[in-house]
Amino acid sequence: MKRRSFIKHSALASTAMMAPAFLQSFPPARRYASRAGKVLVVVQFSGGNDGLNTVIPYSNDLYYNLRPNLAVPSAEVLRMNDELALNPAMTDLKSLYDDGLLGVLGNVGYPNPDRSHFRSMDIWHTGSSSDEYWQSGWLGRYLDSECAGCERPYHALELDDGLSLALKGEHRSGFAMSSPEQLRKNTDGALLKALAKYEEVHNHDNESAAYLYKTLVDTQASADYLVEQAGMGRAEGDYPPTAFGQDLRQIAGLILADTDTRIFYVSLTGFDTHANQKGRQERLLEQYAQGMKAFVSDMKSNGLLNDVLVMTFSEFGRRARENGSRGTDHGTANNIFLLGGGLKQAGCYSKSPDLANLDNDDLVYQTDFRQVYAEILNKWLEADPVSILKHRFDPLGLL
């Protein structure tokens, strides 16, 4: 027996003896096995990250013409190929690129783009077109799709006190938790404990009441499980001392503890850079790059690199032409980063953005973001992308 599973086994045994029957329905059988199944981590850049200063078309004069104040000089950029380079704040990400772990997909968007943060985020979360209003998220509908392990409430976990629409399905939803301690505090009131103790009080014919009790019981059981799991993972990477860095550390810890969570969701906020963009954006990109490097080193040293995929997106990119405040306004198409050992091929998948053919100073998208979702659902999560996204999207061949 491996040391890790031994500890878990004994911890479970002692809990099981004291726990009431309903608690024993979780954790499930797979806890005894070693890692099975792939892990997806979604990183959301909130506020609309400026893609052109993240993945820089440094050999294109038009880029320098559009951005007399904001363009990064070609001498400073971190070159990936003859056309594209990373922002100088992302040296840690560049090293992952050099190791063949990073895939960069440019010009990702959707038809008739919406420039409102809320609406565009809604579109990315639900996977709808810009003229449709859907009330469930793409990952939530994945949870609805009878996927293996999806019945566990913490199969998809968001590191936050609230749950994003992306993780809300029609029948099942993901789980939100900023930290196990915070979760525990809200589940251990005197009455809630008493309700947990008397299993027979949960059985209502009333469907709504039964649903509320089930959610409560699942949350209490998940809190116990996640608190225990969080105590076992040992993330040792050099994470930035920010909230985002600590969220990533928690995710790494849970993955290393063989937690039965397969999807993690985390956000980094502050990308709405209408004025004085440079310093602010670069601080955020640096945080992201450092966090990713620490995360990858933890996965690597535990032999898990090929089992983990990180996808990073933002609700929109920013206007190609800079504004009068050394910033950029809301735009359209943007980059998506894919990171992990399971990429069919790493590197830059697309050409430099077409700055000669802008639509009112905005980039024209070439890849629909739902093609990326479809690829992940199909190749990584082994689900049926057509039923989840309600349309067929052309495969990209990245995974």
């Binding site: 909130s46 609309g48 809320f118 949350t219």
Partner: protein
């Protein structure tokens, strides 16, 4: 007694302890009469100040000064809109206001879902919804089509002759009146032409811009004429599908998430034949026997705002900080004046995930004790950096009236009384077990804990 409780839960926000004592033995017809009488004498919300000039928020700032000015304006207005939301919830919670009117207005606020970022636009829209909430739907729909906040939200300001913007026309059909499947793309284009020039001026008033209106002939739903927006609404209301669509939505909101198509069909006839008289339709529903059938009681999940207003009403709760109610609304997924999109709040089970449920179950306890909330919400996308956690609710409750219900009663009898007052579905946990679980020797503290505990039952989430 159960009927009166059910009526007030669905047509209002529950009963205060005083109202419960006074009205629980009333008959249904007299209770319904009283609700409608109170709605007739309700006052509009005061409009505190007019706007001098709205900054042009559609075009992005072209200078640092202008950008800073718009940002500052929106921040100030955002706080005022949040305060307005607090004032509105205060009315929902107050026995001296018309609970029926507030409840029906809340329904229309979700139906004509619209994000309002500017205080004056928000309060004017709210007053418009209140004014027509229980009247003919035609007046309401027309007033909304001329509402500056809606015009801005659905881009009707950009809807001009020769350069139509179809956003409002499409949602008018898809979400506000007839529903998907009953119109064509051609109908959307023609309706958009009819609404050209329905605009809003720089100080946020409705204005009809003649120069932008398309006076040409249009063909809409098989009819041809020089239609304007009013004609489009009339043609839509002439279709029985519109009555059916609206009635189904009203039924699902006030009666049951699961539609009963037979009942809805009859109600749609009544609505259609009364020229869409919403008050009459609701009065019919609230006095119908089937409204009080077990299948239609105690099974709707309260919306966050309804839950909050109910707690405030039961505890005479006053928040020390105007932003606290907005924080709760946001955490629970129903921030007034900020619906998720034009389709409104989905409702039902969609209110519930592990995070919202735990906050909902703890809300009474947070309000009654200084128990730490310590939640950190997702930041605004415009925020520069991560915000701080929300620590405490800081509210003052008056437990006098609710505890008066328990006077002279044993512990178990007191719990049974409180449970009968607070819960629409009685929990299966016995009150003796509850008394034990509270582990409290002091009588006053015991009752306070009991109130908080009863509000923590999953059954309290239902009405």
């Amino acid at each position: 007694m159960e009927k009166i409780k059910h009526l007030h839960n669905r047509a209002g926000f529950g009963l205060s302890p005083g109202e419960w004592q006074q009205k629980r033995d009333w008959t249904v017809p007299s209770a319904v009469d009283e609700l409608f009488d109170a709605a007739r004498s309700a006052r509009a919300l005061p409009v505190e100040n007019e706007i001098d000039e709205l900054p042009d928020m559609m075009s992005m700032p072209d200078s640092k000064e202008k950008g800073a000015k718009v940002a500052q304006f929106l921040m100030k207005e955002g706080q005022k809109v949040a305060t307005l939301g607090t004032e509105w919830v205060g009315r929902m919670a107050s026995p001296s206001e018309s609970a029926l009117l507030e409840r029906v207005t809340l329904f229309w606020h979700g139906h004509f879902a619209c994000e309002s970022k500017v205080y004056t636009l928000a309060v004017n829209q709210l007053n418009t919804l209140r004014k027509h909430a229980l009247g003919p739907f035609r007046e309401l729909a027309l007033a909304v089509a001329r509402d500056p906040s809606m015009i801005r939200y659905l881009n009707n300001q950009q809807n001009r002759k020769g350069q139509p913007n179809e956003n409002f026309a499409r949602e008018l059909m898809e979400l506000f009146t007839i529903g998907r499947g009953h119109y064509t793309e051609q109908d959307v284009r023609e309706a958009a032409r009819a609404f050209t020039g329905w605009s809003s001026n720089i100080i946020g008033e409705y204005t009809f811009r003649r120069g932008q209106h398309d006076y040409g002939s249009k063909t809409f739903m098989g009819k041809t004429g020089n239609f304007n927006g009013e004609d489009i609404i009339d043609i839509l209301l002439n279709r029985r599908e519109t009555a059916l669509f609206l009635t189904r939505k009203i039924y699902r909101y006030f009666v049951n998430d699961q539609p009963d198509e037979m009942v809805i069909n009859d109600l749609a006839d009544l609505y259609y034949n009364s020229d869409y008289d919403t008050g009459r339709l609701l009065r019919h529903i609230f006095t119908a026997d089937w409204f009080y059938a077990p299948a239609n009681t105690g099974n709707k999940i309260k919306s966050p705002v309804t839950l909050m207003a109910g707690i405030m009403r039961a505890l005479e709760l006053k928040f020390q900080n105007d932003m606290a109610p907005a924080f709760i609304q946001r955490s629970l997924g129903q921030l007034l004046f900020h619906p998720p999109n034009v389709a409104g709040w989905p409702g039902g089970k969609a209110w519930i995930d592990n995070a919202t449920l735990m906050l909902r179950l703890n809300l009474g306890a947070f309000a009654l004790s200084s128990k730490e909330v310590n939640l950190r919400l997702k930041d605004d996308p415009e925020a520069a950096e991560r915000g701080k956690a929300f620590k405490r609710l800081s509210a003052d409750a008056n437990l006098g009236p609710i505890l008066q219900l328990t006077q002279g009663k044993s512990r178990q009898a007191a719990l049974e009384t409180l449970s009968a007052y607070l819960l629409s579905l009685q929990p299966k946990l016995g009150m003796a077990e509850l008394a034990d679980a509270l582990e409290e020797t002091d009588e006053t503290l015991f009752l306070k804990k009991a109130v908080a505990a009863l509000m923590s039952f999953p059954e309290y989430q239902l009405c």
